[in-house]
């Protein structure tokens, strides 16, 4: 098998992997719990998509405590321009 053929096969496989990752991400959602949010003894959460989590990751809009993700801002308000504290 020529070098070019090997490169093309590898590229095709990685391309498929990239598309699978994108599709998988598009179908995933995560529970992000509200800050101090307890109603009737139950924690309230908002399901957000992977795309929304990417956006939240750009300004530390979500933090992990224990095994759960918690929002760091009021999701009922417009997000606006936010800076990442890191």
């Amino acid at each position: 098998m020529t070098r070019t053929a090997k490169e093309r096969i590898a590229a095709a496989l990685l391309l498929v992997m990239a598309l699978v990752l994108l599709l998988s991400g598009g179908m995933r959602s995560y529970k992000v719990y509200d800050r101090g949010g307890e109603e009737f003894g139950l924690l309230t959460f908002t399901p957000i998509s992977d795309l929304d989590l990417v956006i939240d990751a750009t300004f530390s809009g979500v933090e992990r405590k224990g095994d759960r993700l918690y929002t760091t801002y009021d999701r009922s308000e417009p997000r606006g321009k936010r800076s990442c504290p890191t």
Binding site: R3, L19, G25, R64, K81
Partner: protein
Amino acid sequence: MLKHFSIAAHRRAVQYASLILLHSSWGPEFKWLCNPVLSCHSCVLAWFACPVGVFIHYSGYHLFPFMALGMTLLLGVLIGRLLCGWVCPFGLLQDLLYRLPGPKVELPAWTAYIKYPVLVLLVFLLPFLFTEQTWFSFCRICPASALQVTLPNLFQTDFNDFNTAAAVKIAVLLLVLLGAAVSSRSFCKVLCPIGALLAPLNFISLWKIRVPTQNCVSCGKCETACPSRVAPSSRIARDIPPNRDLDCIVCHECQTTCPHPKPREKTVTNP
């Protein structure tokens, strides 16, 4: 000659246009899209997300970054490190700094491998172990972040917010800028985690630099022109695209500089 000039001029024009366009948001954002160039998404003018920052946060969240990794992989397979050479604003800054007069050095080849442990430790492992807010993440020392966010914030607050974190970031920035002035694209070669992510994809990317092997006269001009010093002639001589190298930033300078870039026309002689 004119075509050679136009490719080099095109690259510089694209770099300047990218610098402006990537930092032109007056409010709207597309920060669900990871753009694999070193540009801090905390900049108020930023349109897109930086994959390094997103990976750091996902590592801290203990989540697999499906979309972020998928986007980065997709672009890498299609164009390799083309964005490093043509779009990355920090790459443009390094190119301009290297043009300053002064002593120039070539870094030893082994320094190009430092960026891989930087990627593994400061982007994935340490944020995974100590959360995304850890001091031991790349965002805490990122020179692009220092330039685009830390310094403007300090000027805005009259340096009232100057603390250890800011001092560390600025110190790293100054070292990187000094390095860029004395060694071509030293940050890209030695420290950039985005470069480390995209580098292996150079070997299989669909984008290829084409320099006809049969025309090579071993003049060495491509070696001199290469900003990454990745010896393109060694691959051209073996009929391998010169961008099949970990540290090639696919700038096309080797192709631009080649005195014989076009395949020679076959001549038909009468018997």
